[in-house]
C-alpha cells in the first residue's frame, strides 16, 4: 500500500502537546500527531498506553490539562462531545455502546440526529419540512444498513443481535452522521477471523469510495499492518514511534514496548 501520509494532503486532525492526567497518573503526555485526509491511521501500543484516553480527549469526553486538538483547522479543545460530533467526528467505543433496547434502524438513525433541525412544534404538527427530514434520515440509515448487509436486522433490538453484527451497527451509526473522520476504538476486538477479514475489506473499500479519514486503535497486528497508511505507537502516554506500517513493524523501540523481556515474536 502506498503511503499517502504527509505532503499534499490536508491535515484533518491534529493534536499539539496533548496532556491528560487522572490524579497523579499521567495518561497522555505531550502527545502530538497529525492525521491526513483520506488515510487510515492506526494508534497502537500496549495496554494502558493511553490510546483510548487520546480518543476520549479528541472526541470531547475528557478535557485535556494542556495542549490542543484541532479539527479541519479549527480548535476544538474542550468542546462538548455532541458539538464535536456535529462538526464531523464520529466514533465507536471499545466496549460496544449501542442503544440496546432500540431497534438497529433507530440506532443507525441516531447518526443523523445532529444533521436535522426540526424542533418541538414542527414535530407536533408534522410539518412538511419535518416529514421530509424524517424521510431523509430513514433513507440514509437504510442505505447504510443495506451497504453493510445489516438491513435484515432493522427491526431487531440492538441487544438481540450477534456481537459481530453489533460492532457493525455501531460503525453504521457513526457513518450515518456523514463524518469527515471516523474514529474506531478496537473495531476488531471480539470478532472472529472471518468477521475481522470482512471488516478490513469494508474499511478499505470505504476509504476509497467515500471522502473519509479513519483513525483506529487496534490490537490485531494483521489489521494494523493490512490496512494502515500510517501507524503511531504509544507507550506510557507518549508517542514512541510513527511511520509507515512496514517501518513500525521492525522498529526496535516498538518491539521492546510490546514484548519487553518476553520475546516470543508475537505482538500482543
Amino acid at each position: 500500500m502506498t503511503t499517502r501520509h504527509g505532503a499534499g494532503n490536508q491535515v484533518v486532525l491534529e493534536t499539539r502537546g496533548l496532556t491528560k492526567r487522572f490524579g497523579g497518573l499521567v495518561a497522555v503526555a505531550d502527545f502530538d500527531f497529525n492525521i491526513h485526509k483520506g488515510e487510515i491511521c492506526s494508534l497502537i501500543g500496549p495496554n494502558g498506553a493511553g490510546k483510548t484516553t487520546v480518543f476520549n480527549v479528541v472526541t470531547g469526553i475528557y478535557k485535556p490539562e494542556a495542549g490542543s486538538v484541532s479539527f479541519k483547522g479549527r480548535d476544538i479543545t474542550g468542546r462538548k462531545p455532541h458539538d464535536i460530533a456535529a462538526g464531523g467526528v464520529a466514533r465507536t467505543f471499545q466496549n460496544i455502546r449501542l442503544f440496546k433496547n432500540m431497534t438497529c434502524m433507530e440506532n443507525v438513525m441516531a447518526g443523523q440526529h445532529c444533521r436535522i433541525r426540526s424542533g418541538i412544534l414542527s414535530s407536533l404538527f408534522r410539518t412538511a419540512a419535518q416529514r421530509s427530514e424524517e424521510q431523509r434520515v430513514r433513507e440514509i440509515a437504510e442505505v447504510r444498513l443495506r451497504q453493510m448487509d445489516l438491513w435484515r436486522f432493522r427491526n431487531e433490538l440492538a441487544k438481540n443481535i450477534a456481537y459481530g453484527s453489533q460492532r457493525m451497527i455501531e460503525i453504521a451509526r457513526a457513518l450515518a452522521s456523514v463524518p469527515s473522520i471516523l474514529v474506531l476504538d478496537e473495531p476488531s476486538s471480539g470478532l472472529n477471523p472471518r468477521e475481522t477479514e470482512n471488516l478490513m475489506e469494508f474499511l478499505k473499500e470505504l476509504i476509497v469510495k467515500e471522502e473519509l479519514t479513519i483513525l483506529l486503535i487496534e490490537h490485531d497486528m494483521n489489521v494494523v499492518m493490512g490496512i494502515s497508511d500510517w501507524v503511531t505507537v504509544m507507550d506510557e502516554g507518549c508517542k514512541i514511534a510513527e511511520g509507515r506500517p512496514e517501518k513500525i513493524y521492525n522498529d526496535p523501540k516498538v518491539i521492546e514496548a510490546y514484548l519487553g523481556s518476553d520475546g516470543n515474536g508475537q505482538m500482543a
Binding site: 460530533a85 455502546r97 433496547n101 433507530e106 440526529h113 427491526n155
Partner: protein, 330 residues
C-alpha cells in the same frame, strides 16, 4: 397465523380494541353514578400526571422523585391567581403550565448533570422544599397548612361552566387525549428518539451528536408543564389546594405508575394509572391492606416483569419506496 395469540399482533384487532375503549369512555359516564365518574376523573388526573412523569422517567430515564412539586406549583398558581385576582381557571391552565415549566427549568438547570440515584435524591429534596415552602406560607399567599380555598369552576365566559362530575370527566380526559396525541408525535420524532438514546446510553448519545443536557432539560420542562396543567384541573375540581396533597407519597405513586405500566410506554402509563387510582376504590373494604398489596405488587413486578405490564413496542420500518426502486434498477 394459526398461533392462538396472533390476535395480539394483528393491527386490525388492536385498532378495534382502541376504538372500543374510546367508545366506552364516551358512553360510560351517561350510565354511571357520580361516584364512578369521580373515580374515573381521578384516574384521568393520575393518567395525566403519569404521562408527565413518563417523559422524564420513562423516556429519558431520569429518576425524578419530586414530581409532585411541579404538580403543586401548577395547582397553587391556579389557586392563588384565581382566588386573589379572579382570573378564569381555564385561562390559568397555560399559566400554571408555564409556571411549573419555568420552575423546572430554574431548579433543574444546575442539577441536570447528576446521574441516577444522585438526581433522585436531589429531586426528592426539591419536592419536599416545595411542600415545606407551601406550609410556611411565604409572603402570606399560600395559606400555610390550610392551603387556598374557594377556587372557581372552569368556564368559558359564562357559556360553558364546568361544574358537574361529568363535565370534569370530559375535561380531564380531553386533556389526556391531547397530551397522548402530542406525546405520540414526539415519540416518533427526532426529540423522542434523542430522549431514548440518552436513556439507553448517555455517553454514546453525546458522542453521536445529541445535546444531552438540552434534551434532559427539555424533558423536565415539558413534564413539569403537563403536571402543572394537571394541578390546574385538580385545584378547580377540589376547589381547595393544600400542601398535604403534594407529599412525597404522591411522587412515589407517580413513580409506581410509570414503573408498573412500563417505562416510556403510553398505554403502560394508562394501565399504571388505572391500577393506582381504581384499585384502592374497588378494594375500599380492605383499605388497611392497601400498602401491603402495593408493596407486594411492586416487588413481584420487579422480580418477574421488570419491563412493566405493557412495555413500549419499538416502531417497525419497512423499506423506503425510493430505495426499492433504486435497487430494482441496479
Amino acid at each position: 397465523m394459526t398461533d392462538r395469540f396472533s390476535f395480539n399482533k394483528s393491527p386490525g384487532a388492536s385498532k378495534a380494541a382502541v376504538v372500543a375503549a374510546i367508545l366506552i369512555f364516551f358512553i360510560f359516564p351517561f350510565f354511571a353514578g357520580d361516584y364512578a365518574i369521580d373515580t374515573a376523573f381521578f384516574f384521568g388526573i393520575y393518567a395525566l400526571l403519569g404521562l408527565s412523569l413518563n417523559i422524564v422517567l420513562g423516556e429519558v430515564g431520569l429518576f425524578d422523585l419530586g414530581h409532585a412539586g411541579f404538580y403543586a406549583i401548577g395547582a397553587y398558581t391556579t389557586a392563588i391567581l384565581n382566588t386573589v385576582y379572579g382570573l378564569p381557571v381555564l385561562a390559568l391552565a397555560p399559566v400554571s403550565a408555564m409556571a411549573a415549566a419555568l420552575f423546572a427549568y430554574l431548579v433543574c438547570s444546575p442539577i441536570i448533570h447528576l446521574r441516577g440515584d444522585y438526581l433522585c435524591i436531589v429531586t426528592i429534596g426539591m419536592g419536599e422544599i416545595v411542600r415545606l415552602a407551601l406550609i410556611n406560607n411565604p409572603f402570606n399567599i399560600t395559606g400555610g397548612p390550610n392551603g387556598v380555598f374557594g377556587i372557581d369552576f372552569p368556564s368559558l365566559g359564562g357559556f360553558l361552566v364546568i361544574d358537574s362530575s361529568i363535565e370534569y370527566y370530559f375535561l380531564i380526559w380531553g386533556v389526556v387525549g391531547v397530551t397522548i396525541w402530542g406525546l405520540v408525535r414526539l415519540q416518533n420524532s427526532k426529540i423522542g428518539r434523542a430522549w431514548n438514546y440518552i436513556r439507553e446510553d448517555e455517553a454514546a448519545a453525546g458522542a453521536i451528536g445529541v445535546d444531552v443536557r438540552k434534551y434532559k432539560l427539555l424533558a423536565f420542562v415539558i413534564g413539569a408543564g403537563i403536571a402543572g396543567v394537571a394541578g390546574n384541573i385538580y385545584a378547580s375540581k377540589l376547589m381547595v389546594v393544600s400542601p398535604e396533597s403534594f407529599s412525597f407519597w404522591e411522587s412515589c405513586l407517580l413513580f409506581c405508575i410509570v414503573l408498573i405500566g412500563g417505562m416510556g410506554s403510553i398505554p403502560g402509563v394508562l394501565i399504571g394509572a388505572a391500577f393506582i387510582s381504581l384499585f384502592p376504590e374497588i378494594f375500599r373494604p380492605f383499605a388497611m391492606y392497601r400498602m401491603l398489596v402495593f408493596g407486594s405488587v411492586m416487588i413481584l413486578m420487579m422480580m418477574f416483569r421488570p419491563q412493566g405490564f405493557w412495555p413500549r413496542k419499538r416502531g417497525r420500518f419497512s423499506p423506503g419506496k425510493a430505495l426499492l426502486k433504486q435497487e430494482g434498477e441496479a
